[in-house]
Amino acid sequence: MATALKQDDNGNNQPENAENVVVRFAGDSGDGMQLTGGQFTLSTALAGSDLATFPDFPAEIRAPQGTLFGVSAFQINFGSRAIETAGDEPDVLIAMNPAALKTNVDALRDGGLIIADSGEFGKRNLDKAKYENNPLEDGSLAKWQLLKLDISALTLEAVKPFGLGNKEALRSKNMWTLGLALWMFERERQPIIDWLKTKFAKLPAVADANIAALNAGHAYGETAELSGDGLGGGHLTTRKVGAAPSAPGEYRTVTGAEALSLGLVAGAQLADVPMFFGGYPITPASAILHHLSRLKEFDVTTFQAEDEIAAIAAAIGASYAGKLGITSSSGPGIALKGEAMGLAIMTELPLVIINSQRGGPSTGLPTKTEQSDLYQAVYGRNGDAPMPVIAARSPSDAFECAIEAVRIAVQYMTPVMLLTDGYIANAAEPWKIPDVASLEPFPVTYLDKMPEGGLKPYSRDEKFARPWIKPGTPELMHRIGGIEKGIDTGHIDYGSANHQKMTEIRRDKVLGVADSIPDQDVALGNAGGKLAVVGWGSTYGPIHQAVRRAVEAGKDVAHIHIRNIWPMPKNLGELLKSYDRVIVPEMNTGQLKTVLRDQYLVDAKPINKVSGQPFTIAEIDAAIEENLS
């Protein structure tokens, strides 16, 4: 891990080519920290560094100002090498008020740098953050480097010419801070200026004030010879984090919610079927509805339903009518959709259900991440109701997973559950933009004339998929429903032998999806050996990084990351049995572990964390260490 600052023999801080740096922006939820982080991310990506981000914000939209629970933070880890997590410990903490300092400073690495807006450290704010004394003055931050700047006053000064009110002027504080951060890491300001001009196109005074603040923050870094406590008499200088080696191609940054939306559009195009998306607002899934609602030229119809049930029911209706129905939610909403999922399974209609998981149960932790809906996805319906389940491991992986979910849905005439989580949905990373021409199309066919031997709506192809028949097609009128179907005919049939057979067909159809998915690969390390660390979803980053370190240290460890949660890849059982030990780190109390034990009788050991925060690399390191001894 790079040091935040490095001093030369004279005690001056040297520009350093750091391998990677972790910066956390923290402020009041009204301070615009997510925006600041997002724009800093963009400038970092444009400079070619690899990066991962972790937005961490409260469930309250505008919590009372200055309070501890109203703190919103954005962490970015960027480097000149491959970055897989948002970083265990920040090197730099930018704290916009006492509450932000209090809730975040303990995460800062010893010797790390605090930049604090001293203008916000008055008695009132100190009281709200439950500080008895001003921590900027009482020496309690001695183990870190401290830079105190009256950012509020400096911002007011910078935006004075634009005649904004005090309150409005102070809104530019985040841009001032961003300007300083851009200077610190030698990043370009122009992309941010362009963005501000577009964002405030209708409010030119606001755009100008923000640009002025941004420039002022940057200029301040350049000229002020910043010095502070623990800086050893030296002053803050810039540090450059170089570009990370990456495959040639065109890149952009992407969040999981964006990548997933784009993947759904791509999937529908590859299937050559118009998309119908039914959604209901819920954190952290709403972003997908927002993205898709702007893409009407791609034959996308979005429908904000009256509730979660209506959202999936409408998607099922659209699928019946010949479009690809998609619905999206988070755990509590997915629970509400459960009965309708059963209907889609029974009527064998294509449907994609996306679950952006959050902490649970019930309302749980709406804005925090967890991966505790695996049981719900695999088992959580009445009756024997099998459904393919796939899980995205990163924002860019969400693109491919979305296409895969669409493919399985239309080829097997089945609902498919796609799992992502709050972390993936909100986190950004650089993304090598796929070449559309390289994506394999899988166009759907509808049954559009009377087959020889008459119409059998529940006849099956080699995948056990039934025909997709659009209402409006002459002669092929038929009735479907949630009541058990007679084999082939689809007529109501309560017969016991029929139910036995139909249950088996539905099971075998879904298990057959395994024939169309790739074998499980080993992400890192050898196939077979002492220890396999098996993960799924957003734990990819910390597991991969920790296993890489272990492998580099000569340890016999492998990383296996499962995308196809149900059905699992055909070789997975054999692969797991080729290791002496299997550990499964999950942000739940051991759900994948249970499925692995059940399916393969392997002694998978759980490594669990349910704090609403992603695993740190150090936590996985420790688990590897313990299981190798």
Binding site: P248, Y251, K296, G317, S319
Partner: protein, 342 residues
């Protein structure tokens, strides 16, 4: 009627499925009325979609030789919304009951009506849960004795038509299962562009037998039913009585009509576009007043699916569906063999 549309007969709308309602159930009469009406609408079976929820009435789609979807309890309006948005050319009929539409599915019914999805909603009201063997429903009258209310129900019933009007429905009608006029109500509902809500009083002969007899019985119908027709005076009892406005209390009243001179008695002429009068007709307390039957309200507004389609087309205008361009949107950078290029 489209010239290309082939003529159908009642037989074209019947399936080969055995009808499984209890003998004597009002549902049989409604099914026949619908099958009799379809050929007169100039529509084709393949363009017709019947969608139902759960309950006795919801078996209906299996008996219609059209496309059909027997969904889950209460959700038919939501499934119908998706189907109609996906293919606005479909002629969508929703078959539901008092429990399905007003209890478990009340939310969806409300939103379908306020959005004004173009479809016909036939609510078979029998004031009881039939399929689950006779529990009281949201339209059961206070004091209804059922297995779940052995001492009588205590909660007040919902009024389906008042609910529909309050939800923003632009077409509201009432019919009776065995009434020969039901086909006219169905035709009017079909002619209405938008959500057409029809409450049909349906006799559950097993669990709530003859509960509507006080106004539905043929013998007394003349004095207990107000058969509405647009542009016609609101007369009943063979023209001997009528409905007039009490100008002091701004409410309806029953007046006697002498020698057929309804104008002298100030009997109101039914105007189906008058929402206020529709509300009063719906709320007329039965007993003191007759039961208003027929089209109570019919005043079309633009439909939901038309607005969605129009906005989709408008928003897509001039934009090419270029997937590669979409993926490349925003600020991008290029990495070459030598590293990133800015």
């Amino acid at each position: 009627m489209n010239e290309m549309t082939k003529i159908t007969t009642l037989k074209d709308w019947e399936t080969d499925q055995e009808v499984r309602w209890c003998p004597g159930c009002g549902d049989y009469a409604i099914l026949k009325a619908v099958q009799r009406t379809m050929p007169e609408l100039g529509v084709r079976p393949e363009d017709t979609l019947f969608i139902s929820g759960i309950g006795c009435s919801s078996r209906f789609p299996y008996y219609m030789e059209t496309y059909g979807f027997h969904t889950i309890h209460g959700r038919a309006p939501a499934v119908a919304t998706g189907a109609k948005l996906a293919n606005p050319d479909l002629d969508v009929w929703i078959i539901t009951g008092d429990g399905d539409a007003l209890s478990i599915g009340g939310n969806h019914t409300m939103h379908l009506l306020r959005r004004n999805l173009d479809c016909q909603i036939m609510l078979f009201n029998n004031e009881i849960y039939g399929l689950t063997k006779g529990q009281y429903s949201p339209t059961s009258r206070v004091g209804t004795n059922t297995p779940s209310t052995p001492y009588g129900s205590v909660d007040r019933p919902a009024s389906p038509c008042a609910f529909a009007l309050g939800s923003g429905a632009r077409f509201i009608a009432r019919g009776i299962d065995i009434h020969k006029d039901l086909t006219n109500v169905l035709k009017a509902a079909h002619a209405h562009k938008g959500a057409a809500f029809i409450e049909i009083f349906q006799n559950c002969i097993v669990y709530n037998k003859d509960v509507f007899d006080e106004f539905a019985a043929k013998k007394t119908a003349a004095s207990t039913q107000l058969l509405l027709a647009d542009g016609e005076p609101m007369l009943f009892e063979k023209g001997a009585r009528g409905i007039a406005m009490d100008r002091e209390t701004l409410s309806l009243k029953v007046v006697d009509v002498v020698d057929g001179d309804w104008q002298a008695a100030n009997v109101i002429v039914h105007d189906v576009t008058n929402r206020s009068v529709a509300h009063m007709l719906i709320e007329m307390p039965f007993g003191e007043f007759p039961m208003a039957i027929g089209v109570l309200y019919d005043d079309p507004r633009p439909t939901f699916e038309a607005a969605v389609v129009e906005q989709n087309v408008e928003a897509a205008k001039g934009k090419k569906p270029d997937l590669q361009a979409l993926l490349n949107k925003g600020q991008t950078w290029t990495v070459t063999e030598d590293g990133p290029e800015l």
